[in-house]
Amino acid sequence: MALLEVNDLRTHFFTREGTVRAVDGVSFAVEKGRTLGIVGESGCGKSVTALSIMGLIPKPPAKIVSGSVVYDGQNLTSLSERKLEDLRGRKIAMIFQDPMTSLNPTLTIGTQITETIRRHYDVPKSQARKKAIELLEEVRIPRASERLDDYPHRFSGGMRQRVMIAIALSCDPKLLIADEPTTALDVTVQASVLDLLDDLRTEHDMAMIIITHDMGVVAEAADDIIVMYAGQVVEHASTLDLFDRPEHPYTEALLGALPQIEGEGIREGRLTAIPGRPPDLIDPPQACRFGPRCPYAGDDSCTQQQPELRELRKGHWVRSAHPASERVGAARREGAPA
């Protein structure tokens, strides 16, 4: 059995303008000790998916209207807030994009770590403090015992993210959800934080969900990848298969749109831009949500009905009427990626 199973999750926001279908039928599983990457552009629903798993969506306006989140056999969507609090941090922990705002500026980092430990374990302060120093050492913060009494503003962005990771690890969770953990960081700092997460995952035998807009980050960090578009999963495959043989026109386009750092003709060449922009999730198309931007969409089924997520080959799922491997000889609309 998988450690975490998300089944047909729908999280909608009820606003004055209408119902925003931010997450609209998302299913996936995370196996013990593995890393799942969720990748997509702004507004595709990747963060709302994570917050829904954690029970952290703002209610109202948001509501999980259907589906389930099953952790270790327990359905989290039906748990009381109290029970959920016990579970958060202890079993599932989360780190966020912005290490500048997710720490409390008025408390020392020692206080913030020990308070998390003491929320979940009945231990004296001195012991929690000892554990806090160990944690800071584990996330490779130099002079850990001295830095414990510093306030967050004394730390750089990368160091703050390390503190956040230390807090997340404090109760030895089995699943760590990292929402754009390195987006606010410089590239060299990003590399060291990703290396750290990789080491910790192995040492603690954790499963991880890493949410990012960066294809490079999932290529290095994830075992499996979900590509999200307009609130839905459009492709789900192992990392190698996704990059070797991307199937969904959106995944292909995303990869084509990325500038490369090595190769020939980079300066002269053009990137494969995706025309248009994602649909409004208040009233998304009844048909394929990528249809209006898809170079392969014709007058066929994809303008009439929504494609289902189907397994194209073992472990490779795609939601499209025109996946790459079924497209041989198919007509291409102008501007389609070569």
């Binding site: 552009e41 702004s42 410089d186 590239v187 060299t188 990003q190 590399a191 060291s192 990703l194 290396d195 990789d198 807009h213 960066d214 294809m215 490079g216 980050v217 290529a219 290095e220 990392t239 190698l240 990059f243 386009a253 995303l254 990869l255 084509g256 749109a257 990325l258 500038p259 490369q260 750092i261 090595e262 980079i266 300066r267 060449g269 053009r270 990137l271 494969t272 831009a273 995706i274 025309p275 922009r277």
Partner: protein, 288 residues
């Protein structure tokens, strides 16, 4: 006057910001050397990429070139004219030739001005054309950047980030400048929109023979735009050369570390890169 083959020449540029302390009586207690002795040249029609991490001083260089902030010392010559000692009026005239596109299309456009007013403002400031001429020119400019010209009476907030960046670019083009400083023009945009804007900038360069100073932190973005690339670290230029040479055969240790840290969308290559960058980091840590 101008030297052949050089549009812009920056020589030994310094910009130091004072650090002040004290509540009522402020005094200077030190300074930050944001730009610390930087020199380079840009040829007409060329793109020089300026890459570096946050705080490396790359944007400050852009502002110093346009004299949006006064350099502490050093020289900035545009077509042979020294900009650092120009008066207000002369500088205003020079700015017709040099424009800037900012990072954040959400905060760099005046929310109370219509799209048409934003794009047309430089024309009014420089007293170009009649009202009717300007109207035609505005539509032309918007058309060139791929923005629907019939939306001239709308406001920036009605548009997405990519569309707003097009408005910013149209405004920068209004006076037919020779040099455009692009300061992180795509870093606030999603990948698919980023590609649209990068392609647009390439097209405009070809069609209008523009010269770019392209400032960005994303190494792949800089690579795709630049003929030559300069790498900044802590206010200094640590390496400059042809784009391909800098990326395939970096000479400076910082450039090497920077390049090895970039995650690339290739899981197989990533495995090797990960091992290599760990090794490099250990070597650098021991060297210090």
């Amino acid at each position: 006057m101008s030297q052949d083959g050089v549009l812009l020449e920056v020589k030994n540029l310094h910009k130091h910001f004072p650090i002040r302390e004290g509540l009522l009586i402020e005094r200077k207690v030190g300074e930050v050397k944001a730009v610390d002795g930087v020199s380079f040249e840009i040829a007409p029609g060329e793109t020089l990429g300026l890459v570096g991490e946050s705080g490396s001083g790359k944007s400050t260089i852009g502002y110093c070139i346009l004299q949006l902030i006064k350099p502490t010392s050093g020289s900035v010559r545009f077509e042979g004219t020294e900009l650092t000692d120009l008066g207000r009026e002369e500088l205003r005239r020079m700015r017709r030739e040099m424009q800037i596109v900012f990072q954040d299309p959400y905060s760099s456009l005046d929310p109370r001005m219509t799209v048409g007013d934003i794009v047309g403002e430089p024309l009014i400031v420089h007293g170009i054309g009649t009202k009717a001429d300007r109207k035609i020119r505005i539509r032309e400019l918007l058309d060139v950047v791929g923005f629907n010209p019939s939306f001239t009476n709308r406001y920036p907030h009605e548009f997405s980030g990519g569309q707003r960046q097009r408005i910013g670019i149209a405004r920068a083009l209004a006076l037919s400048p020779k040099l455009i400083v692009c300061d992180e023009p795509v870093s606030a945009l999603d990948v698919s929109i980023q590609a649209q804007i990068l392609n647009l900038l390439k097209d405009l360069q070809r069609d209008f023979e523009l010269t770019y100073l392209f400032i960005a932190h994303d190494l792949a973005v800089v690579r795709s735009m630049s003929d030559r690339i300069a790498v900044m670290n802590r206010g200094q230029l640590v390496e400059i050369g042809l784009a391909e040479q800098v990326y395939t055969n970096p000479q400076d240790d910082y450039t090497k570390a920077l390049l090895s840290a970039v995650p690339i969308p290739d899981p197989r290559a990533m495995k090797e890169r990960k091992a290599a960058r760990r090794k490099l980091r250990h070597a650098l840590a021991e060297g210090v």
